[in-house]
């Protein structure tokens, strides 16, 4: 049985509409027209134990709504969700003890108290034994390099430090299923990289299932074999990231370095020239045309260096979205 199974999940919200300005503000006292937002609109997928899946989509696509439904915060409008055999919304203790949801923009730490106080409380809530607690805390805090910060009040920590503490608080009970919503948001690149390594290590070490959303494609590229792409509440791709590249990357990026400056006109004649800035020219050509361009380049010009690559993953995703909007 799949660890997470979602079938035909829908979550609609009612929101109040109001145009800006003072008159509509007054009118809203009398009647407030509502509008139904289909945050998640009939999605189905399964995730097996130990998988690390990336959940991607533009803002407002329904990623967070899905994660919240999976962790039992939201009552689905319709459809069925099973996580570890439980119906999340019932929020049974046995279920809650095995999951965790980390939201990059939310904190569970007690703001005025040192993180340690939150950890201790979580230890009791999740009924973690003393030995287990000491061990996990030591492991996590050394992995994240925050051993000396756990006694400082949360409000005095920097964003990155706080994020790490959030992670420890969320993992102290070693959840089998981990939902991460933008875990690297607002972190600098070095910290982002560390966070990524940590998530990967956690996934491997505890064989836990991780479902992660991120705006940073680099997170997804480094972490997830499988991605689910969602847009406007619907899944538009669910499968291996590598397959996504194969399927949607119908172009190749050719970049050539010239020994001596070529005529711009001649380059343009080759077609698909993306940009030229001596000594480098970049072509973005459909796969069939790519070979020809390379052959011509090598025949006509003095080439110092030449590379042929798949387009950037961000580029591919962008093209996937633009197709779904077309």
């Amino acid at each position: 049985m799949a660890t997470i199974s979602v079938s035909h999940l829908k979550k609609y919200f009612k929101v109040y509409k109001r145009s800006s300005g003072i008159l509509p503000a007054f009118l809203s006292l009398i009647s407030r027209p509502t509008e139904t937002v289909r945050a998640v609109d009939d999605i189905s997928f399964n995730i097996e134990q130990g998988e690390l899946v990336g959940f991607i989509g533009p803002n407002g696509a329904g990623k967070t709504t899905t994660l919240k439904s999976l962790s039992g915060l939201l009552y689905p409008t319709s459809g069925e969700i099973k996580v570890l055999g439980f119906t999340p919304f019932e929020r049974k203790n046995e279920f809650l003890k095995q999951i965790s949801l980390v939201m990059g923009q939310k904190n569970q730490l007690w703001w005025d108290l040192p993180a340690m106080d939150t950890f201790r409380l979580n230890k009791e809530m999740y009924e973690v034994t003393d030995i287990e607690f000491e061990k996990t805390l030591k492991e996590l805090s050394s992995l994240l390099e925050v051993e000396n910060l756990i006694k400082i009040p949360t409000r005095q920590l920097s964003l990155g430090q706080r994020m790490k503490m959030e992670l420890i608080a969320a993992l102290i009970h070693k959840p089998k299923v981990l939902f991460l919503d933008e875990p690297t948001i607002g972190l600098d690149v070095v910290m982002q990289k560390k966070m990524r390594e940590f998530i990967k290590e956690y996934n491997l070490k505890y064989k836990s299932t991780v479902l992660l959303t991120s705006h940073y494609m680099i997170d997804v590229k480094h972490l997830c074999k499988r991605v689910i792409i969602i847009d406007r509440g619907k899944i538009i791709y669910d499968g291996l990231l590598s397959k996504l590249v194969e399927k949607y990357a119908d172009t190749k990026v050719i970049s050539a370095e010239f020994g001596e400056a070529p005529e711009l006109k001649e380059l343009k004649n080759l077609g698909y020239l993306k940009n030229f800035n001596y000594p480098r020219a970049v072509f973005n050509a459909p796969k069939p045309a790519a070979n020809k361009i390379v052959t011509k380049l090598l025949a006509k010009f003095q080439i110092e260096d030449l590379t042929i690559e798949e387009p950037d993953i961000e580029e591919i995703i962008r093209s996937v979205f633009s197709r779904s909007h077309a």
Binding site: F13, T64, K68, S71, G72, L73, L74, Y75, R91, N93, L96, K97, I99, S100, L101, M103, G104, Q105, K106, N107, Q108, W110, D112, L113, D117, T118, R120, L121, N122, E124, M125, Y126, E127, P153, D181
Partner: protein, 264 residues
Amino acid sequence: MRKYYLIFTNSLSEYFAYRLNFILWRVRIVISILITYFLWDSVFAGKSEVFGYSQARMLTYVILITFLTGVVLSTQTHRVASEINLGELSKFLLKPVNYFAFNLSRDLSDKFLNTTFSIVEIILLVLILRPPLVVQTNPYWLSLFAVAIILATILFFEISLILSFIGFWSKETWAPRFIFFILITFLAGTYFPLDIFPKPIYTLLQLLPFTYIVFFPLKIYLGELNSPTLFMGLIVVFSWIIIFLFTINYLWRAGLKIYTAEGS
């Protein structure tokens, strides 16, 4: 059980991060008691009885309000409304913890601090002002007083929670709470005993929950309720507690279904 103990101690430590706030809050309560105290003290000038109250009974009533405010009226449940609106409720929903027990533990820390302070304040006030007081020694009234305080605490906790649950349906939770507190000031007896109202109004008030938050326990302390009134009062307060319990349960279930975990 230890988790609720830790919620209690964590909430206490949270207070110490805002010591000045807390001290000023206590100052506010003492000032308000002093105003009521001196008001009644001057009303009694030259009279032995006002509204059927002797000076000693009235001043005892006023001073004990401090104590009752500490035990019954201190609460953190107003935070529930903003927790719902800001989506912070999520962090409690995600954990294997009973949210009501959580709130109770958080409230107990609040009550513990405020009550401790109120006792110290009462001792100081009595030492400094040396007012004539009624000291209840009868164990019958004292134990009933304890029971009435517990009932009042439960009742107030429920009402305050219900007011916060409005947050599920509306962002505007302060207005209803504000109105409720105005009602409390006049109808619960935090400024004056309610039986100085004309008889018909007083009878009506006895059917409302407010009476049982402050006035009822204090009347019991003074040993001034006859058995039928006492019995009637206990039935009314019990009924309200049960009614509110069902209301809370209903609102909580209905609220969670439309809870949107906003704010991110």
